[in-house]
């Protein structure tokens, strides 16, 4: 179970590239594992010898600010597993791909989509201190405050450290009724 996620404060690691797909987040050659833990060491494996990953501050960052259309491509949940294992709790972009966003919300990783001016301001200031306030739906940085929207159910689970699986399992009577009505 992920820890409850409410307010996250940290320096930001900035990856300005657009379209950072899940093959780049964790290349397929690391997907023969049957585990979900310990994948942080493979995060952006083909870029870890380059900036900003080589900066000692990278290891402390809980907030990733990335270019548009983050997490596109493959559905591999290994991508949010690797990001979370590395230490990230929030990904901020101007656009986040559908499957990645769904996967992130189930793994203690908050996907934040900001409008483009706010996104550009955060992209332009790497390593700055950012506060992400999930209950208030606000991002605060450099004296500015930006609002964001997030799926209310995903947020409800994240804030309480709840697993959506438990909620789904409670729907059993409705599922049985549906199956019987179709039979």
């Amino acid at each position: 179970m992920p820890e409850p996620l409410t307010v996250v404060c940290s320096r930001s690691l900035v990856l300005p590239d657009q379209n950072l797909d899940t093959d780049q987040i964790i290349p397929a050659r690391f997907l023969t594992t049957t585990e979900r833990e310990g994948l942080g060491r493979f995060l952006f494996a083909d870029r870890r010898d380059q900036a900003p990953w080589t900066d000692p501050r990278a290891a402390e960052c809980k907030i990733l600010v990335a270019g548009a259309n983050f997490g596109c491509g493959s559905s591999r949940e290994h991508a949010p597993w690797a990001l979370h294992d590395f230490g990230f709790r929030v990904v901020i972009s101007s656009e986040i791909a559908d499957i990645f966003r769904n996967n992130a919300l189930k793994n203690g990783l908050l996907p934040v989509v900001l409008e483009s001016a706010a996104h550009a301001a955060l992209l332009a200031a790497p390593w700055q201190e950012i506060e992400v306030d999930l209950p208030a739906r606000r991002v605060r940085a450099a004296g500015q405050e930006y609002s964001f929207e997030v799926d209310p159910f995903g947020a409800w689970c994240l804030e309480r450290g709840l697993d959506a699986f438990d909620y789904l399992l409670q729907q059993e009577p409705a599922i049985t009724a549906f199956e019987e009505a179709r039979a």
């Binding site: 259309n69 596109c72 949940e77 159910f153």
Partner: protein, 480 residues
């Protein structure tokens, strides 16, 4: 104000997507809660399922409907022949453990598995349709983004994460927000010498790599209706490359003729009843889409990608465009704006994948290669999408065409599309590939990929450089 049409007011026109969504809604969504959506067919493979079975074990849960689950081995399987016991000699030990884990999980939960011994094994999105398991109007999910392939049958089919694989195993349902609807209409008649792959690449060039995000695409227009099922699968397969949740084609007589008699399709009276229901599966006239795009395909030239995502695509006769913000991507590819791609030397050709690993695709490649030799500088891999595709190709002698041309004729699997089974493109090398992703490192760390049709891949294998296939096609060999 005009008077409302009485029929319209009593029965508002709806999209195909909406009809399938409504028919599978166990509990409707609210502002606070997603819908509970019922899943008809759940496909699983070795890479994205082990942690899902572990989640079930941790909670002491069973698989709710094992008869609605089909499993195959495809992503990490070598494309060499397995031993009689179904194991692969020399397989990476961790990949071997992953396959063994799938086998154990399927045995424990009574799930049908196409393993190394099975003559039905193949890529998950090739196997499901060819067995007749993918039905019009059904919901189909898999821990794989190219599940959109099954939308070719008018099924609502989409990729899910491993947590959701566990959800479906345990409850046969998913928590889902309804996507928006998007119409992509192909306008005009494409030339006979361009393929479905060229059509979808042209669509991606128009909508961009994120133009479908948050949407389910329905492909429409006479050019779509004219495609066979294999072409429709190629079209829907790459919907995810435009960010779309799913791609759909309304089922028609082409669909029904393809499905009839397949082992997992409805049989006898059930087939007749199914047909009646399936004929209703189309978007009503006047139904509103949230987004509409038209793509003119009349006079379309073969398409090829030049960058590091499938939206970076151009006619093969063109020059590399100067795309704002993509300079570093061109640098990765070793290309500069204004350069032609035609004539650029290549190192590898890959014909295969869930995009282009079906019989029609192999026929198109063979039509170009017949009686010719691949360049000695190019490694050419032909990987059928399944054993059934392999058998059908061999029955037509296509394997002999490939071998005689100097290409490798391999065992089925995902192979060099995802490069996790030992088949890969070396750093800095160029591949013309019929697969679906030209992402950085997708075909191996540092690999550079040009995505194209099977005909373009085959023509490029012969010359050893990026080549327009139209000079190699005679009227008799053209596949529309």
């Amino acid at each position: 104000m005009s008077r409302p049409d009485p029929e319209m007011t009593s029965n508002p026109p709806t999209t195909l997507f909406q009809k399938i969504w409504d028919a599978h809604t166990v509990t409707p969504e609210t502002v606070e809660r997603p819908a509970v959506l019922y899943v008809d067919l759940h496909l699983i493979h070795e890479v994205t399922s082990p942690q899902a079975f572990a989640a079930l074990a941790q909670r002491g849960l069973e698989v709710r409907r094992p008869e609605r689950v089909l499993a195959t081995m495809d992503h990490s399987t070598p494309t060499t022949a397995p031993l009689a016991d179904g194991s692969w000699p020399g397989i990476d030990p961790q990949a071997g453990r992953q396959l063994a884990t799938l086998e154990a999980n399927c045995r424990a939960h009574g799930i049908e598995l196409f393993d190394g011994r099975s003559q039905d094994r193949g890529i998950v999105h090739v196997v499901g349709p060819e067995l007749g398991a993918t039905w019009p109007g059904a919901t189909v999910v898999c821990g794989d983004s190219h599940t959109s392939t099954h939308g070719a049958f008018g099924a609502l089919a989409f990729g899910i994460g491993t947590s959701e694989v566990a959800h479906v195993l345990a409850t046969q349902c998913l928590l889902q927000r309804r996507a928006r609807s998007m119409s992509v209409e192909l306008v005009g008649t494409p030339p006979a010498d361009v393929s479905a792959k060229d059509l979808i690449l042209a669509v991606l060039g128009t909508i961009g790599v994120d133009g479908g995000t948050g949407h389910v695409i329905e492909y429409r227009g006479a050019a779509v209706e004219a495609l066979g099922m294999e072409g429709r699968m190629t079209l829907c397969n790459m919907s995810i490359e435009g960010g779309a949740r799913a791609g759909l084609v309304a089922p028609d007589d082409t669909t029904f003729a393809w499905l009839e008699g397949r082992p997992k399709a409805p049989q006898g009276k059930a087939w007749e009843r199914a047909l009646d229901a399936w004929r209703e599966l189309r978007t009503d006239a006047g139904a509103a889409f949230d987004k509409r795009v038209q793509v003119d395909v009349a006079g379309l030239a073969p398409q090829i990608t030049f960058g590091t995502h499938p939206g970076m695509v151009m006619p093969i006769t063109g020059v590399v465009p100067d795309v704002p913000g993509e300079a570093r991507e061109l640098e990765y590819m070793g290309l500069a704006p204004g350069e032609p791609l035609q004539g650029r030397p290549i190192d590898v050709v890959f014909v295969g994948s869930c995009t282009n690993g079906r019989l029609d695709d192999l026929r198109a490649a063979a039509a170009v290669l017949r009686g010719r030799k691949v360049s000695p500088k190019v490694r050419t891999l032909v990987v059928p999408g399944s054993h059934a595709v392999r058998r059908a190709a061999e029955a037509e002698g296509l394997d002999e065409v490939f071998r005689a041309a100097g290409a490798e004729w391999r065992e089925p699997g995902c192979s060099m599309c995802i490069a996790m089974n030992g088949d890969f493109v070396a750093a800095g090398r160029y591949a013309v590939s019929t697969s679906n992703r030209n992402f950085r490192g997708r075909q191996g760390a540092g690999s550079r990929t040009f995505l194209a049709s099977p005909a373009t891949a085959a023509a490029s294998a012969i010359t050893g450089e990026v080549t327009d296939p139209r000079g190699f096609l005679t009227e008799a060999t053209i596949h529309a």
